[in-house]
Symmetry: C2
Subunit: 209 residues, 2 copies
DNA sequence: TGTACATCAGTGAACGCGCGTTCACTGATGTAC
DNA sequence: TGTACATCAGTGAACGCGCGTTCACTGATGTAC
């Protein structure tokens, strides 16, 4: 209204960034950066509260190119889910194959530090209640991750399912109550840490799961 | 384009339902129906995946009148959170005050039936990972509910925090893996049910939480 | 090695949709007389 | 008890916003010769 302009696009100025195309190697790095950013953001806030634009921006890109890398947001979610489980399993593996290694892992798991780093922490309590509503491929990746954790624990201690349920539920509850009832939240973690030794006791009657 | 009509509203026909106003008692029932429907829908799909329109429709109303009952969707979420915890605590209380009552409650808790009835089941595994991102009042109601459950368990058995963490985490994991790995999901619940007797064993060394 | 051109990774505007919230309006309720 | 009117619970259209996805376009990459 103020300025009379043709409706043709303004072609005088280049569109901001000069590097619109990039090496294939660089493109692969971009793809990896998107998956990594998605892994952090999805854990931090859940699949549905993080947009494609925010993920690509966190990876240093714009959202338009996203669908050159992934068929859909769900496809990215599945890949990110696989990645974060693989990373978490690596953390456990890096500590060793024996009972002491697992206990060290669990001591670290049940801390306020882990509670606050939801974006880089264990994907199981971070994503658990979102999963049933996600794409089947995401659910598959999650279930594979849970199975791998059960196996990983079983290798080091008997009764892996009870142990996994306890730490996942404890962390979820500690996070859910951290702001409104910080003392109870800390008490949940402290209580579970103190009971870790019970899992190392020799098997009593049966050791299901 | 096809029909020439004035832009004035069509006043010839009454707007559908004749009963636009209603008894105060009826209005209070409507309010209760909204909270109840919200309690079910929020548990089933999470706070952010359920809209105000869907909730009011489930209560037999339209969305326009919602803000005559509640200041915001968050305010409803807080009230619904309080309601579903109160209902769940009542279910435990209804079974009695002793250890056997709690075990009966837990046996029922750790079932596929409860797993599938997320909308009417325990709010803790249904809402856990959503809570840290919700309104502070919602977080407060949730934390109060968790505290009440810990107290309710402690009244009947020692070690309430480990027990609560186990069942909440186990149910969350069972639900998250139910579709992609149904056998593992069932195994999680079966394993935890089988281990319930361990919680009744006389205290060994310490009984934190 | 040098050149000409096709490819294609990335950009940014745009689309359609659903959401939380607002608002003018309706007409039965409930009250003042 | 009867009447006249103010109240207010509920309706449905509309608003602004953010989202997932699409698309015309850009220009460096990488290849054919």
């Amino acid at each position: 209204m103020m300025m009379i302009m043709s409706s043709a696009k303004c072609t005088a100025q280049p569109p901001g960034n000069a590097d619109v195309k990039v090496t294939r190697e660089k493109a692969a790095q971009h793809r990896g950066a998107i998956v990594k950013a998605a892994g952090r953001l999805f854990r931090a806030r859940g699949f549905d509260k993080v947009g494609v634009a925010e993920i690509t921006e966190a990876a240093g890109l714009t959202h338009g190119g996203f669908y050159g890398h992934f068929a859909s947001k769900d496809a990215l979610a599945a890949e990110a889910c696989g990645l974060v489980f693989a990373e978490s399993l690596d953390k456990l593996a890096a500590r060793g194959d024996d009972e002491a290694a697992l206990l060290a892992y669990l001591e670290n798991y049940l801390t306020e530090s882990h509670r606050e780093r939801r974006d880089s922490g264990c994907p199981m309590p971070a994503l658990a209640t979102d999963i049933p509503r996600q794409d089947p491929v995401v659910q598959k990746r999650y279930a594979e991750g849970v199975a791998a954790f059960i196996d990983g624990i079983a290798k080091r201690l008997p009764g892996p399912i009870a142990l996994l349920s306890t730490i996942v539920g404890g962390m979820a509850l500690a996070r859910a109550t951290a702001k409104a009832a910080p003392e109870m939240s800390a008490q949940i973690l402290a209580s579970l840490r103190a009971q870790l030794t019970q899992f190392t006791a020799p098997p009593r009657k049966r050791q299901n799961g």
